[in-house]
């Protein structure tokens, strides 16, 4: 390969990365400039242009894809200011998806190491690979957000937020209280739902499916009901005060942790429903709620800001 062929190969690789309307003109100009640069370099070194000199020069000039990128305005899909948030959301989301699915897969009965390999293989093909939808969704979301910020630069202006504000407003809290009241009623008497829906004419099997064990009703059940019920006066107080005073925030955290502990007790204590299927479904749902509560507490702890100097600095 001689120097001319090296240069032409380089120019082709640059031009292929450019828009069609610009490609040939840039290639023509670049060819003239590169030959002139090479000629000047050869004269400076006192020897004719050869392939080695051309390759050295073009290596210093830059990779074709980089040079081509410089011909066009910079395209940023995710703003650099969003880089850390994107990375954090990607990693946390993937860890959650993978670990929850792995737990579910490992819960299946296994007789040998081959079964374990089969489960892992199924987990890899059924969860890990398809889970790439999550980073894809994040790229689309962050990209759209960045585009909106560039398109309307003054739209998302920063607004101060009071520390004791009620997220979603008082209406959201009223809805929460109503949800707790209904949920608590359902939890205390799930069979009452059947009476409500079917006017007492539901099949006996349906009642059996929603029947608690005595162990649950006389053990952790009442404690769980009481802890859930304590949320009602807490939220009502916040609704009346129109803000979240720090003491009520601490009470909410403590109540949340106690509720999580009571749920764990329920999980470990024994059957909740006399029907094995209902019991399994209820325990899976309860385990998910515990995980969500822990994640929520973890996020709140992580996001807490208490300005103070670093020790030792």
């Amino acid at each position: 390969m001689n120097a001319n062929e090296v240069v032409e190969s380089y120019i082709t690789d640059v031009a292929l990365q450019l828009p069609r309307r610009q490609r040939n003109d840039v290639a023509f100009e670049l060819s003239a400039l590169l030959h002139e640069e090479l000629q000047a370099r050869a004269e400076a070194h006192g020897r004719p242009v050869d392939a080695t000199m051309a390759i050295e020069f073009l290596t210093a000039f830059g990779r074709p894809v980089d040079v081509a990128a410089r011909y066009r305005p910079q395209l940023t899909i995710i703003d650099p200011s969003d880089g850390h948030a994107f990375w954090r959301a990607t990693v946390i989301g993937l860890i959650l998806i993978w670990s929850l699915s792995l737990l579910q897969h490992l819960a299946a009965p296994m007789a040998s190491g081959w079964d374990l390999l089969g489960v892992l293989s199924h987990w890899w093909g059924g969860t890990v690979i398809p889970s790439l939808w999550w980073p894809g969704l994040l790229v689309a979301s962050f990209g759209t957000s960045a585009w909106v910020r560039r398109r309307w630069p003054h739209a998302p202006a920063w607004q101060p937020r009071a520390r004791d504000r009620i997220s979603g407003g008082r209406a959201a809290l009223v809805a929460t209280v109503l949800g707790i009241v209904c949920g608590l009623g359902l939890l205390i008497d799930p069979r009452g739902l059947l009476d409500l829906l079917f006017a007492g004419r539901a099949a006996p099997a349906a009642y059996e499916v929603l029947t608690y064990t005595d162990r649950f009703r006389q053990g952790p059940g009442p404690w769980l009901y009481a802890l859930l019920a304590m949320n009602i006066p807490l939220y009502l107080t916040v609704i009346v005060m129109r803000r979240w005073p720090p003491v009520l925030r601490r009470a909410e955290t403590a109540l949340g942790l106690l509720t999580g502990a009571a749920m764990t007790w329920v999980l470990l204590d024994g059957p909740i429903f006399i029907s094995p299927v209902s019991d399994r479904v209820a325990k899976i749902l309860m385990a998910l709620i515990i995980v969500m509560m822990l994640v929520n507490q973890g996020v709140a702890l992580y996001r807490r800001v208490r300005p103070s100097p670093n020790q030792g600095s």
Binding site: V26, E29, A32, L33, E37, A60, D66, V67, R70, Y71
Partner: protein
């Protein structure tokens, strides 16, 4: 990061900040890419070929330069020159640069022993 790395990185950022202004300043008269690079280098502002040549196209796309092919004397060359918008921008950037340069001069004099 070593001191050498830090210096190289920060100096590169400084140079990047002035590349456009330096380029515009030398395009009050028509020049083609290689000639422009030589002119900048002779005045103490060498700019890598891989940076300068694409930059000329970008400035033209932004509507700051006009260009034309000339094939009369020697090999075909694409010549660039400031248009009206480019001249206005150069004037504003020059004033801004002078202001910053004077401020930096004062700041650095205060810091020197």
């Amino acid at each position: 990061m070593t001191d050498v790395d830090a210096f190289a990185k920060l100096e590169l950022e400084l140079r990047r900040g002035v590349v456009v202004l330096a380029t515009l300043s030398q395009l009050r008269t028509q020049r083609y890419g290689y000639e422009l690079r030589q002119a900048l280098a002779q005045q103490g502002m060498p700019i890598e070929e891989g940076t300068l040549y694409p930059l000329l196209r970008r400035l033209e796309t932004q509507g700051l330069l006009s260009s034309e092919w000339k094939i009369a004397d020697g090999p075909p060359r694409r010549y660039y020159v400031l248009n009206a918008d480019g001249r206005t921008l150069l004037s504003r950037l020059s004033a801004s640069w002078q202001g910053m340069n004077e401020a930096m001069g004062r700041l650095l004099r205060e810091e020197s022993p």
